[in-house]
Subunit: 355 residues, 4 copies
């Protein structure tokens, strides 16, 4: 837009008056506000487990866990997002570390949360009074507004991945928070939670609990089930039947048994297994996702840059950035994303190139 | 309605003219057509396993199974429904008997079908090419328009309960039927079907199969899962937690993992377990149901009449007829009903008296 | 199925024992129960207005309307359905006639009802206390369990078409009925009902009434709106824009503004307008429908038989029977069907031949 | 959290190492990230029409409209949001000004947009080739990914309110944009758009357009309908019937006739009318809203501060900030909000105090 020179002063005055009046014109910034395709500030980035874990350990020595700080959780801060503890604009991802005999006090909040266990066992998370054991490979839910606290009943520390919609809820000003007791409300350490005894029977629902719920009532998705489901898909593929997401690539989505949909209204969670040598298509989609290398090693081509990834690493994929994964060994990947937000609001798109 | 005497002839003529014109007035029959509450022609009735099973065995000797007759299925014919093979106006319930080495040929139809296995094992039902083992206590689905056939690979006969929506589909003129091969299309006898390997992992869905489906993709709900789910509910009750449908009465509903709803659009299926001595409330509901005594014995007070029921017996409950069940021993009951029809069409009501 | 001759006696005994035990084998009747495609007992049939209306008038002279008989409604009795007042297995269609100053007393029932006004005006139907004027071409709703009565405030009789799901609700034993007052509860005769004042503003909903409802809250869909909507479609077609159902054939569906779906859970209602000379494709679908010639004349090819149809005639189309309509003059057709039942229960199919 | 003094150095080193590794601990900021209740950065604010309109006029003189800048739209920049053109974190609100004979070129984008006409007439907005007249009080939709441009066919300028989800789509990185022609694709100036001719017939849907759509197909909700709907509610209230949102307060929600839900997946729009002297309850809700004084004057008590508001003024209400409105004269208010986002994602809460 070219503006006649001798009108410059009037125009400058207009812009000053806009500013004074709390106004801002579209025409000077439409390109930034409304780009041709998503142009995220968040950058593609990989966090190495070999860096993360020692820092979590040092935190364990130096920082107590308790009321006020609430959790010893160290969040990925996307380099494009100005130092805020946001893995992406919508998703929080953190390493949480709980030392021997420590207790993370109870609280509840609107934010939806899950844990995915990376190392060890011996912590019980107590969700609305139901103690839930945590063990490597388990995926555990704390949907919005459920009280929850954690306590470690062993002499060893334990570490897991926390995923929440904190950035989204913060941006949209939708969060409520309430403190609970400083100790967990139920110190029992059962092998299986009450939630699982009610809900983890495949295809069966308690008649006493009819109807849909916004979030899954399953507090823990156990590693054994996930592992078998993936093995079964690969075996079916070997026998010539459709089962896998693409050749050599098994994948399950954690789901809400009362709807068949995602586990929580804002978060999708999946587990992927690639055979040694398998390569995914290059995919991009609206919305962001985070991949965690649960086991094995491979290569991630993220926005055109190749990275070697190993056990424990975290891969952050901003909106519309392409990703291709290749497995050097059998590669097990946990993944979560904000896709349900976009699907429900009719903003979802995806594109794939399988060459 | 009183009609002036000297108009009788004109009125008779009017009614004759109605009949000739293919018309029928409301006012002569509104009470029958539109009763104060459901007034079913179907009657409450109990079929004793001790009668049914010997007749099924005799059929096995005398009647071949094959193309044309299609299945050696002997249907409950409600005494109120004029001899038609209808357990209720909407539901078909039959004993199916397959002798040693016999084959029931493949076909498909719009009608939704399930099998609940009463006795024995050794038959595989092949659903769209997927062989599914049948064993006592298993609940198996053949939703509308899936090809299916059965074959017995042993030297012993096998018997199961067939449930379908044949009367409903017949009444509403919605049925299509197609013959398949005379032999089953896949003679393998795997322990676990492909359907189960894809879908029977609690809370997990294959990423390759997104979205809702009108019917459950689970071909077999295994007895082991059902049994454990019920035991878990009773144990939770013992520990003081809400889990059972009412005191001493555990119950699970078979569900469609892609929606959380009923297994098929017209049929609800559940399994109930009463502790010894437990008594249900007296309940009635719009729509009909059929209960099968899987194990144990007890008393059914059906429309005010008390019946002793034992293993294998079938209890048919027409619409709005009250039922109360009391357990003399631990009592295991399979139940199916047409409730989804009424719920979806906003015609459902229920009433309960727990005195 | 051939049965060895010397086993005939044993077989006969088996069948006798089946009957005595309340059983009925599938193999003797599978073809009738489960035909290759819908094989309705109801027959395609046309009722001529020139026959119907004089009979309605004679009823007006001879039969009082009042408590007990409830309504002076003369139902189409499909010749294939044994004299019962069923237009099809699911649908009731009747001419209702209300003489000068007459009152049809209030009642309510589970059955869903509508009126489509064929002749005259001067009756108000009072639905849950809301008086609704009835005039030629109006489509009026009385969804299940709303109290309703009618009164004629003029010295002329009035006639309309009643459509209900009486046969379906009767067959499925889902009906409740309750008497209301013998006079209508509100004798006001406003031009526009309260329901319309709240709900008949296109695209606008009262904030005080959020959420979906199983049936439309609109008590009257006025002829003026219907007529304009059809004219607009034909004008758009003239201008080259997609709007009509097929060339020369405009059609609107009456809808529930709280869901966008059908007006009632069991009944679909539409209005069709064919230009002079227009011809529809030959269509058949699962489920039954009834067409009413509101105005004009044409030809209906119903299950291969050609019929001339004129103003007031009623065309009954059983499940899966093909229909093609051709317009001799501009042809206006009201249509209702049981399609929502089949769509919700995943039993719907349709087929069309536009040659 | 108190940290032992002689560990300070180690702790400082830990925090430095966090920063270097792209990490950020929860415990130092949980209170800001997860407040007890929503604590928006956006502030409650009122923009006066007497300020806005002269600035829009000056823009008309100084700034051309055309390709690149795309629109002469001047956005509300919430004082709490750092000068960005965001009325709230999710919503964009702008005055758009189109001078005599000007054309705003065609484009399309993922962002959902509406116009609400404040002054004048003579502009047609062309939505996917359908010219839609704009007149005072009309509410017009351009759901995501529809091409649209505007042209003024008169010698007078025209002004309207633009509402979009630009901030939300920007934050969530979901936007796509595409340029269309520089002139509008259809220069016709019909009184009524094709969209209205198809869809604006109350309770009637074209049979040719079945099924739900994510956004309303109605391009224009005309002032005449809105005005009548509000008058009808107040008249019903006068007659003693439930109709208004609260005493003296009529309100309609613009809705999607294919679902009964909101007009677009991210935006709710309503029109409110208060009688002279009426006062609303004090309400707050999760999510933000913007009120526009269409006509009349009154008082807005916004987060405890009283403001006099007059024709044209805009009131911005951030999440969870209470608002009460009182009408000095009859007060007509257009309102839009981001409520559908929160309702669909199970994050919605509201609270009201009617003292």
């Amino acid at each position: 837009m070219t503006i006649d020179t001798h009108e410059d002063a009037r125009l400058r005055q207009l812009y000053d008056d806009f500013a004074a009046a709390g106004l801002n014109p579209l025409w000077t910034q439409v390109g930034d506000l409304m780009p041709m395709s998503p142009s995220p500030q968040a950058v593609p980035h990989i966090w190495k487990w070999s860096t993360l874990y020692p820092l979590a350990q040092r935190s364990g020595e130096l920082v107590p866990v308790g009321r006020g700080g609430e959790r010893r959780a160290i969040a990925l801060a996307n380099p494009g997002l100005g130092g805020r503890p946001y893995a992406t604009p919508t998703l929080w991802a953190a390493i949480q570390y709980l030392g021997p005999r420590e207790v993370a006090p109870e609280h509840r909040h609107s934010q939806n949360a899950f844990r995915f266990v990376v190392e060890g066992e011996g912590v019980w998370t107590v969700v609305d009074g139901d103690p839930v054991a945590m063990r490597r490979g388990d995926f555990l839910l704390t949907p919005g507004w459920n009280f929850h606290g954690h306590h470690n009943v062993t002499d060893s520390p334990m570490t897991w991945l926390d995923g929440l919609d904190i950035p989204f809820v913060h941006y949209t000003d939708a969060g409520f928070f309430e403190f609970g007791p400083e100790e967990v409300t139920n110190e029992a350490t059962p092998n299986v939670s009450r939630s699982e005894r009610l809900w983890v029977h495949p295809g069966l629902r308690p008649v006493s609990q009819p109807g849909p719920r916004p979030s899954s009532p399953i507090a823990a998705y156990r590693w054994g089930h996930t592992d078998r489901a993936l093995d079964d898909q690969l075996a079916l593929e070997d026998e010539g039947h459709p089962a896998t997401a693409e050749p050599g690539h098994a994948a399950v989505r954690y789901s809400n048994p009362t709807t068949g949909g995602d586990v929580m209204p804002t978060i999708r969670a999946e587990f992927h297994r690639l055979r040694e040598g398998a390569v995914t298509a290059t995919r991009r989609e609206v919305g962001s996702s985070i991949w965690h290398v649960f086991d094995g090693s491979g290569t991630a081509v993220l926005d055109g840059v190749e990275h070697v990834v190993n056990r424990g690493d975290l891969i952050v994929v901003p909106s519309w950035k392409p990703l291709r994964v290749a497995a050097d060994s059998r590669l097990d990947l946990f993944r979560f994303s904000d896709t349900p937000i976009y699907e429900q609001l009719n903003l979802y798109r995806t594109e794939e190139d399988s060459r």
